[in-house]
Amino acid sequence: MLETAFFNLFAGLSILSGMGVVLARNTMHSVMFLIFCFFNAAGLFFMLDAEFIGIIMILIYVGAVMVLFMFVVMMLEVNQAKLREGFLQYLPLGGLIAVILIIEFIAAAQSGVFTEGVKATAVHISQQVNNTAEIGQVLYTRYLLGFEIAAIILLVALVGAVVLTLRTRKDAKYQNIAAQVHVRKEDRMRKVRM
């Protein structure tokens, strides 16, 4: 009973905040709604006894990914009024997709696959099992090789990102400090006989 109540709370709030992401006029508010949505999704994972994924969801998505999103949004300086121009021209196509989706959902709900008997329910495992510890135990033992390769992949991603962005652009003006310090009077000034 209590569980159903919490499920409805988390699920409902994540749907509402998901709608908020799309409907908010201010991009910053959209990002905030998305963060709220992730928190609710994390709550759903906790209810499924998947506390590791729940925590990772908060740490990685909210803590890292969304902060990055926020930086990007702040740097982009999106013009809302301009974005909303031509909003209506996508309505026919978007509306069509929405209608098809609704029909699909209703058909699926009516098909009998989701009746009470066959519905998957969360099977709660005993309190002794801690899935964070369990994942840690196999991740650093049996799956060690894969873990190490993943680490090298991250290193390559890091090196690749730096290599592709760090370069002296031929069209940008740079300050040459050594030249500035070593400049002499004669380099800058020229006596002209009038």
Binding site: N131, L145, R167
Partner: protein
């Protein structure tokens, strides 16, 4: 969840990973060392990277044992099959590094270029030693991620960035498809190991038919992307054309070796029960691949683009070995890949030598009249092109011969006739380049940079192509021995 007791046993047979460890450790060391190498001495980095690959190749031979070794709790397998593939990868990477030294010398941040090549090789080496989808996928991603960056290395060249972006997006899409397919296999069998998946599929029988078939289709599509089989070949021409030429040479050979080797492993170890299904899919794809590759190559004026389509055409021929699905077919694939390595590296070495002030040397017209100025280069180029076209008594002929015979043995006579037809079409556009070299007037002045190492690459490749053409038996024997690990 698996019960793990502590202290957990230390990974057994770690020595089997010696080549991978050498590459990984030296690549990271090189990444740091490169900071202290002054700009005018950057060649040092390249030489050290080349030495690393030689060391890895030597270590591969050193750790090889007659019986199959399994390390890291059964996640890593070292058999003759993997050893052979690793040697090919080491040679291809070594040649790729040698081809890069002169070509890339004016680029910025050149140190990381060689480090990324080493990491790419590391990914491939892990991939060919994988006996499960986890290591296979991680190796694949390591290889692909390094290659994406290498393709886009020339940031100031627009088509290089474009090539990298196209390759990246389509590569990510194909990885997604591969993973989606793997989830079906995991769902049916509860394991990532190839052998366990085969058991799981056999036990589930027809009850899991649709799921297994979906998994098969997605895994095949994901792998087909990586080895550029049509209809998943779209990225190949643009990426080959835009990438720095040494990288084009590298990625036309090494990832293909890794891709086909893991393809064979998956088909033999994980999907033996689906042979009828995958053969049907592969036949359809081979028919399209051969046609697309060989017909589109005719229309190209840029030789890198032409060679991209030629690669697709060759992939179509290699697929005959997969379709044959017998020992001769799989050995034929290894023969084909080894021979293709030398032919392609040789051709690309000459294309790189053609680059001179202001001219990329990539258009067919740039080759006109080469024979009068540089008869040596012209002869070598002629040999490579005849070999690619499958003219008898050069290595390329035997490569085709072996896979064609294997496919006939398996009863695919009509498919082989079709392949022969497109082989003839292929010979046309290769020989057209020879015509430019020998019978056309020169249109632009040739002033070649002397580069001993590149010339050595050309000579070695030419000798390999001719020697294997006259006496291919040792290579064919070697490939059949290498199959011991697979079948």
């Amino acid at each position: 969840m698996a019960n793990v007791t502590f202290p957990f046993p230390f990974p057994e047979h770690l020595l089997a990973l010696l080549p991978e460890m050498i590459v990984a450790v030296l690549a990271m060391a090189l990444l740091l060392l490169d900071l202290f190498v002054p700009k005018e001495k950057k060649r040092m980095t390249a030489y050290m990277a080349a030495l690393t690959m030689m060391a890895a190749g030597a270590a591969t031979l050193f750790v090889m044992t007659p019986e199959t070794q399994v390390a890291f709790y059964g996640f890593f397998v070292l058999d003759h099959f993997a050893v052979f593939a690793k040697l090919l990868i080491c040679i291809a990477t070594l040649l790729g590094i040698v081809l890069s030294i002169d070509y890339m010398k004016d680029e910025e941040n050149i140190g990381e270029y060689y480090v990324l090549m080493l990491f790419s090789a590391l990914g491939m080496m892990l991939m060919v030693s994988a006996n499960n989808f986890i290591i296979m996928y991680l190796g694949l991603e390591l290889m692909a991620l390094s290659t994406y960056v290498l393709v886009g290395y020339q940031r100031d060249v627009l088509r290089s960035s474009e090539a990298a972006l196209k390759y990246f997006i389509l590569g990510a899409l194909s990885s997604g498809m591969l993973l989606y397919g793997v989830t079906f296999f995991y769902g049916v069998s509860g394991s990532f190991h190839f052998v366990a998946i085969a058991q799981g599929i056999a036990e589930a029988g027809s009850s899991a038919g649709t799921a297994v078939l979906l998994g098969l289709v997605f895994v095949l599509a994901g792998l087909a992307f990586k080895v550029s089989m049509a209809p998943f070949h779209m990225w190949t021409p643009d990426t080959y054309e835009g990438a720095p030429t040494p990288i084009t040479a590298f990625m036309s050979v090494a990832p293909k070796v890794a891709g086909f080797v893991i393809f064979m492993r998956i088909l033999v170890d994980a999907l033996p029960g689906l042979q009828h299904e995958y053969t049907t899919i592969l036949i359809v794809m081979a028919v399209i691949t051969m046609a697309v590759g060989n017909l589109a190559a005719i229309a190209q004026r840029n030789i890198k683009r032409m060679l991209a389509y030629s690669t697709i055409g060759h992939v179509g021929f290699v697929m005959l070995g997969l379709i044959a699905a017998n020992a001769d077919g799989y050995a034929g694939i290894l023969v084909y890949l080894s021979v293709y390595l030398f032919m392609n590296m040789g051709v690309f070495a000459i294309i790189i030598l053609m680059r001179r002030e202001g001219i990329q040397g990539e258009l067919l017209d740039d080759f006109a009249g080469l024979s009068r100025v540089r008869p040596g280069y012209a002869l070598a180029m002629g040999l490579f092109l005849f070999s690619l076209g499958g003219i008898p008594f050069l290595a390329g002929f035997w490569a085709k011969y072996v896979v064609f015979i294997a496919a006939i043995e398996a009863g695919h006579l009509y498919l082989v006739l079709y392949a022969l037809l497109f082989s003839a079409v292929g010979a046309f556009y290769y020989i057209r380049v020879v015509k430019y070299i020998y019978f056309d007037e020169e249109r632009v002045a040739f002033n070649f940079v002397e580069n001993r190492m590149m010339q050595a690459t050309v000579v070695v490749s030419a000798i390999a192509v001719v020697a294997l053409g006259i006496y291919p038996d040792p290579l064919i024997d070697l490939c059949q021995k290498a199959l011991g690990g697979l079948i």
